[in-house]
């Protein structure tokens, strides 16, 4: 028996060696995304001789590398982010690319792999994107945890990485100079929700129950001192593991604590489960704000359990930013309007854009703007252009911290509070409830009991 096992293992090892020898440099599961293939037909022509009469049109294809979570815990939001990025890339390429003053036309191709929501894989793949795929610029994976892993590789190799779905603050406070954050930092995520609560119910007893991960922890680190400074009593603070499916014990604790308001959550899988179980167990809270999950268009699949659940959102179509706003702030406007972006996205996917989609789109748009401002694709010049950026888009303000203490941290962007409510037809719709000047509906407070 031992001999047959040995033979089996020997055959497997030999088979593995033969297969690996025959395999192309990229495994089939890690094939570049479609846009990369499409762009590959547009052969780069850097070396063409200059024309004597008219300025030569030299086409250059810039490779943007990123991983996405096609599988695993971050799948839902990550796919949205990639869909937004792909829309931007299709639009900019279809429009003929970016024209530089020296006659170069810059077009874009993407190289992307499935990171399986796995940090180790992220590091391996970002190394590969830089060293084998020769990516010119990088976009972050989705989630702060995965981005923290990728940022180390980007920084080690001096590659610019625009971080889209990564709000945690710490990655920008470790001396990194290659990261540029699009999201409002995690520490500020729930501050506007607290401002709203202050006007609705200053005596609310708050429970903070959150996923134990980088992003949610950074949100809570910013939230707790702010709650205290605003005079709120925090009656429970509890972390839970990312793969939690049974929130029963936590909800029992929540009920026993006497909390009237819950702030917390983490990402889509845990947040949607938490919301469902709060409803099933009739937790009797007046207000619930969860991170990330309620911002997704899948959330209403929970039915009545979604009613009244609110979230802090990086962008909402109903409160999209406008050129008039940009003028009021005295900032230059850039890019499409929110309506144009949403129409193009719906036409491409049949779905309404969420803030994760907008984040992915903006990651590309910011690279485009920086290349235009730099009038070059030279990484140093693009980096300088990013550092100097102070613009307004449909997504809101974009301005990066350039101090050594927090280089790349987002300074110009603000969040809104959205809540699932029912419209006149009884359908669940996500309304903007705060800040008051952009609100599309009054807050549902207290949330009706199940």
């Amino acid at each position: 028996m031992k001999r047959s096992l040995f033979s089996f293992l020997t055959i497997m090892v030999l088979l593995g060696l033969v297969l690996s020898a025959c395999a192309p440099s990229a495994a089939p599961t890690e094939a570049p995304a479609e846009p990369a293939t499409a762009a590959a037909t547009e052969a780069p022509a850097e070396e063409q001789p200059a024309a004597t009469e008219a300025p030569a049109i030299v086409e250059k294809t810039i490779t943007i590398g990123f991983t996405s979570s096609l599988t695993g815990a971050q799948e839902v939001s990550s796919k949205r982010q990639v869909a937004g990025f792909n829309l931007w890339m299709q639009q900019v390429n279809d429009a003929g690319g970016i024209k530089l003053s020296d006659g170069t036309v810059v077009k874009f191709a993407a190289v992307t792999y499935d990171d399986e929501s796995n940090k180790e894989r992220v590091q391996e793949l970002y190394t590969r994107l830089i060293t084998e795929d020769n990516a010119d610029f990088l976009i972050s994976p989705y989630s702060s945890g995965l981005t923290a892993a990728a940022s180390i590789i980007a920084e080690q190799n001096g590659k610019i990485m625009v971080t889209a779905g990564a709000a945690e603050d710490d990655a920008y406070k470790t001396g990194n100079t290659s990261l540029f954050q699009l999201y409002t930092p995690g520490s500020q995520y729930l501050l506007s929700t607290v401002d709203m609560l202050k006007t609705l119910d200053p005596g609310a007893k708050v429970a903070v129950v959150h996923e134990n991960d980088k992003f949610s922890t950074s949100v809570v680190e910013g939230l707790k001192p702010y709650l205290e400074s605003q005079g709120f009593e925090v009656v429970l603070e509890e972390g839970y593991a990312s793969d939690t499916t049974d929130f029963g014990p936590v909800i029992n604790k929540l009920v026993e604590s006497g909390a009237t308001v819950l702030l917390g959550g983490g990402h889509y899988p845990d947040g949607s489960t938490f919301a469902r179980q709060l409803y099933e167990r009739k937790a009797g809270l007046k207000f619930v704000s969860l991170l990330v999950a309620p911002a997704d268009s899948k959330f209403p699949e929970l039915g009545d359990a979604a009613l009244g659940i609110s979230t802090s959102s990086q962008w909402e179509l109903k409160a999209t930013h406008t050129e008039e706003e940009a003028q009021a702030f005295g900032k230059p406007w850039y890019g499409p309007t929110g309506a144009d972006f949403a129409t193009a996205y719906e036409a491409a996917t049949g779905d309404k854009p969420t803030y994760h989609v907008a984040g992915g789109y903006m990651a590309g748009l910011i690279v485009q703007k920086a290349i235009e401002d730099a009038d070059s694709v030279d990484p140093e010049k693009v980096k300088a252009a990013l550092e100097a950026l102070d613009i307004f888009t449909f997504y809101g303000g974009i301005k990066f911290d350039t101090t050594p203490d927090a280089h790349g941290l987002q300074l110009g962007h603000e969040m809104v509070v959205a809540q699932w409510q029912k419209n006149e037809a009884g359908e669940l719709v996500r309304e903007v409830i705060w800040p008051a000047d952009v609100a599309t509906s009054d807050p549902l407070y207290p949330v009706p009991a199940p």
Binding site: T71, E75, A241, T245, N252, V255, E256
Partner: protein, 288 residues
Amino acid sequence: MQQINLLLASIPDGILLGFVYGLAAMGLTLIWGVMNVINLAHGPIIALGMFGTFFMFSRLGINPYAGLIPVAFVGLLVGILIYTVAVHRVINAPHLSSLLATFSVNMIIIGLGTAALTTSPYNVDFSAGSIQLGSTTLLGTRLIAALVAMLFTAGLYLFLYRTRPGKFIRAVANNRAAAELMGVPSTRILALSFGLGTMLAAVSGALIATFFPFSILAGGSYELKSFVIGVLGGLGNPIGALFGGLILGVLEGIIPAFLESSWVPVIEFGLFVLILLVRPSGLFGAKK
């Protein structure tokens, strides 16, 4: 006082959940007990049971509890198929061979499942009401799941002790060579045992789907729990697995009353190591 209230609220919930955990573990421990095979495809089978409920309820409108019958039947057939294709030829080989064989099946199911169903979370939007007991809410779905788990346990017990194939299974588990000499068709009995083990896993998955969200990867955590329960109850002792499940369920209910819920796996697996060190045959004794 608050802690006591919390305990009173959490224990019933833990017990109900424990029955379902126990049912899942029973499948794993039955296979180990009969043929000394650790079935690493246990988790994906649980996940397939979850999807069985999802598709029957969400697409065909079949009540999840009525759907248990086809899930159990398909679970049995899938188990027999896995045994025939992947396990039978390595049944007498060292444990590593059967581990690799079932691990391969695990990877195949997860790979196919990921391609067909993605890893997005799925929900079965089904409610069986709830009962308010003081400060705790008992969900109807968990109550029914516990009752079904008890019924399946009783059914398994009757099958093993009161029917001819059940007695054959026990004979093969006890001494395969002797059973064969007595005319017991051991190959068929081993295939049936494997099928029964996967059936229990699939049914537990189908029950869990009525109250927890899931994806094709969701079975992994229940597989790990099944290992802990198997060791607690005694590997190869299906009835011990039910008690092991109850202990684990109650622990999951009461630990968060005193500590952050992220301590639950630390204590669970700490207990796993402790039992292995102090009482390797489990609290209720391994198979005789």
